[in-house]
Point group: C2
Chain length 458, copies 2
């Protein structure tokens, strides 16, 4: 491990943090049109950081929605090329009332940075930039070739980067991708993620009467759009959470026995998971499967939100005309997003209640990914990670989705190292999202170390 | 029929309308705290109108929420006393985008007044005031004794007036109540309503995880509050709309054969009801029952609105921690609201999905009412109504709820004449609520005529 890089990080701790906090103060919420200017500001901030770190050809590339950032440094002939990916956009912070400090006014408490995007993904994406800065400062050059492609639409489906990657394989030519948007299996355990679930995200709209009706005068004879949507969606799963959408399990494979065995060997307390992370009355889901199996290797259907009728304070006695739900399905390897959408559409058509017209709109989608743990870059990464944290690296899957990994595989023909430094309780997409300050510094060092080692061909 | 009153109404048409329009311009939405001042302004407007009409002892009576208005005129010894009731509060106007003209800027189109509250109940309540004005102008006195009690909380459950009636039976002593908050069975058909459904209005809250969770990392193992609420509520009815809440039909009587026969003799086109009023793909509800039976004589459960999770534009992949639904049940005669609430609470407790904690909060409730059509006041009202419109009066029920009628029966021991002049397509609680201008004038005349005839003992 390069002591010089470690020393650089130690000497610059305050400034490295201050710069990240400045980025976290920009409310770059990609899904909300009123934050379009903030998203652009965050892009400019990241581009300037790349220039300051010594990257070249830094470009802000306009898209249909939020810009991409490209940069490269290609002065290491004969050395491999790593393509770093991250995203500078964040999820909306609501419900705001549950935040202990405002989501865009980062606060350090108990060694954590609290802010929307602290971990997902500003804090992690920024480690790549700072690893470059450290290597340039220490060596005056980089130990391998690097490209960056950073997007501002990850939280809204990533349509622009998907198009860009498909259209520009030469510009992004590399040997391996590097993404830091995942978590350590547990604090202190070096972890590489070798599998991600896919996702299809949809809106389901139900329409009943032509207008909201008085529930006294029409109740008992007129269809109710909210109730119709409730009736429909309730049929998607049985009481255990097993999906009832016809054909949905056709392409679902069980994980290999070796992988299942390795999952079983991981430290895992169902009770801690329930009490510290989930905080519900009990865990649910398909019977006969471990929690890790459920979240890593099984497809799911979730309703993320529902709206319709009168939801203000007090009482209003209407039969609502319309209702909408946000519905997604997580996919596992071999499930084809388009086929899943088609199965869902057919299921909705077949199960829509009497008197209710339904419509399904697809917002985004991407397949699940698996990475071969024997790839040279993965082996180097596993060793560097183990060196930094002083114990062996574990290989896990994640239940989340990082669509870019599928795009890199399909259009660039490269695997991706998923080397993340988050913690399982970082509260991504939740109030009080946090990122462990120490992990930010550890990440910068580990990534610089990985660049050095992979560049040297070890 | 008093030609003098008719002439007075004809001569004052413009002013009678202008005054109603001024009242309709006040956005007295009782359920929204930000409109509290408007509700008070509407109360003051109505109180002043009562004074101007010649009513005495006009009082604005403060309550825990919105004021009551009391007035009397008791100078007809030996004559009966009528207690006039109405409400000056209105439903929220949302969804605003469906209104052709703003809800609180009344517009006359095609002989109708379009405004929130035009029919329910400002336009109808105001007819009582104007009938008094006409009689005073023409005769210099009233033909019987009158009391008014007008509330500002009808659309939010009427808690204050219920308390007031229970506590002040002497102050409200009368022979009969008069309420104009119902509709003609069809345009031109004089109609008295002799039955109303009751109502219990509740909020059901579901809680899953302690905070919103990332649906990728936890999906498949963590309970989802929105989905849990969906699963629960879907179990309340079968696919036909028959209620599945245990014990709910125990106290439900079938209407008498004579009443059913009379309903069958009413002009009714299921197709017109569907196409002109409901506007859905089809009508629904319990099989083997006519539409009038369903809406007049059967209990129902409706979900008026549901909210939870992320419902903004675009995508957010959370497993929501909380969800809430507004749920009401309409009741028929003999169903006890408290017993129904208890059955519902037990049903919720028994059917809450795994991992979901549920809570039921009751917002308001009142029993169903039936009125004896042979009461002298009802007979006089039926004759006056028939005289004004030139055909015989029909006796119907309404699926709606007017809790005050039950309070009058229970605490004052009096029946209530439900003499309303709305039309079935007036769009109560909906966008583009309207009131037929002609019915406003007809109502003033018919009510004045009823006061004259009932005062003379005919």
């Amino acid at each position: 491990m390069s002591e010089a890089v470690n020393a650089y990080v130690a000497e610059n701790e305050v400034r490295l943090l201050d710069e990240l906090l400045a980025l976290l103060r920009i409310p770059s919420i990609s899904t909300l049109p009123e934050h379009k200017g903030d998203v652009l500001q965050a892009a400019e901030f990241v581009a300037q950081s790349l220039r300051n770190a010594g990257m070249e050809h830094v470009e802000i590339i306009p898209t249909d929605r939020h810009p991409l950032i490209y940069a490269d440094w290609l002065h290491a002939p004969g050395k491999p090329t790593v393509l770093c990916y991250g995203h500078y956009d964040v999820q909306p912070p609501d419900p705001l009332e549950h935040w202990l400090s405002p989501p865009f006014e980062p606060q350090i408490r108990d060694g954590n940075i609290y802010a929307r995007g602290a971990c997902d993904d500003k804090g992690q994406m920024y480690m790549h930039v700072k690893a470059v800065e450290a290597l340039q400062a220490v060596h005056g050059k980089l130990p391998l070739n690097l490209r960056f492609i950073i997007e501002g639409e990850e939280e809204i489906g990533g349509a622009s980067i998907a198009k860009f990657v498909a259209a520009n394989p030469a510009k992004l030519k590399a040997d391996v991708g590097l993404v830091s948007d995942t978590a350590l299996y547990a604090d202190g355990i070096p972890t590489l993620c070798v599998g991600l679930r896919g996702l299809v995200y949809m809106e389901v709209e139900a329409a009943g009467p032509a207008r909201d009706l008085h529930s006294g005068l029409y109740g008992g004879a007129a269809p109710n759009a909210v109730y119709g949507l409730i009736e429909l969606l309730a049929k998607a799963k049985d009481a255990n959470g097993t999906l009832l959408i016809s054909g949905i399990y056709d392409d679902v494979d069980e994980p290999a026995q070796a992988e299942l065995d390795s999952w079983r060997s991981l430290p895992f307390s169902e009770r801690e998971f329930l009490e510290k992370e989930v905080g519900a009355a009990e865990l649910v889901g398909e019977p006969g499967r471990s929690t890790l199996e459920k979240v890593w290797s099984r497809p799911t259907l979730e309703v993320h939100g529902i709206a319709g009728g009168f939801a203000g304070a007090g009482a209003k006695t209407v039969i609502p005309a319309k209702a909408t739900a946000k519905v997604s399905m997580r996919l596992v390897p071999r499930q084809d997003p388009q086929k899943v959408v088609a199965l869902f559409r057919r299921w909705v058509a077949d199960h829509s209640p009497r008197g209710i017209r339904t419509e399904v709109r697809v917002l985004s989608g991407g397949p699940a990914v698996v990475v071969n743990p024997d790839h040279p870059a993965i082996r180097v990464a596993a060793r560097c990670f183990a060196d930094t944290l002083g114990r062996s690296t574990v290989f896990i899957r994640s239940g989340g989705s990082i669509p870019i990994v599928g795009d890199f595989a399909q259009h660039l023909g490269i695997p991706t190292v998923l080397m993340g430094f988050g913690l399982p309780d970082d509260g991504l997409h939740s109030p009080n999202e946090k990122y462990r300050l120490q992990n930010y510094y550890t990440g910068i060092k580990t990534i610089a170390h990985f660049f050095e080692q992979y560049g040297e061909g070890h």
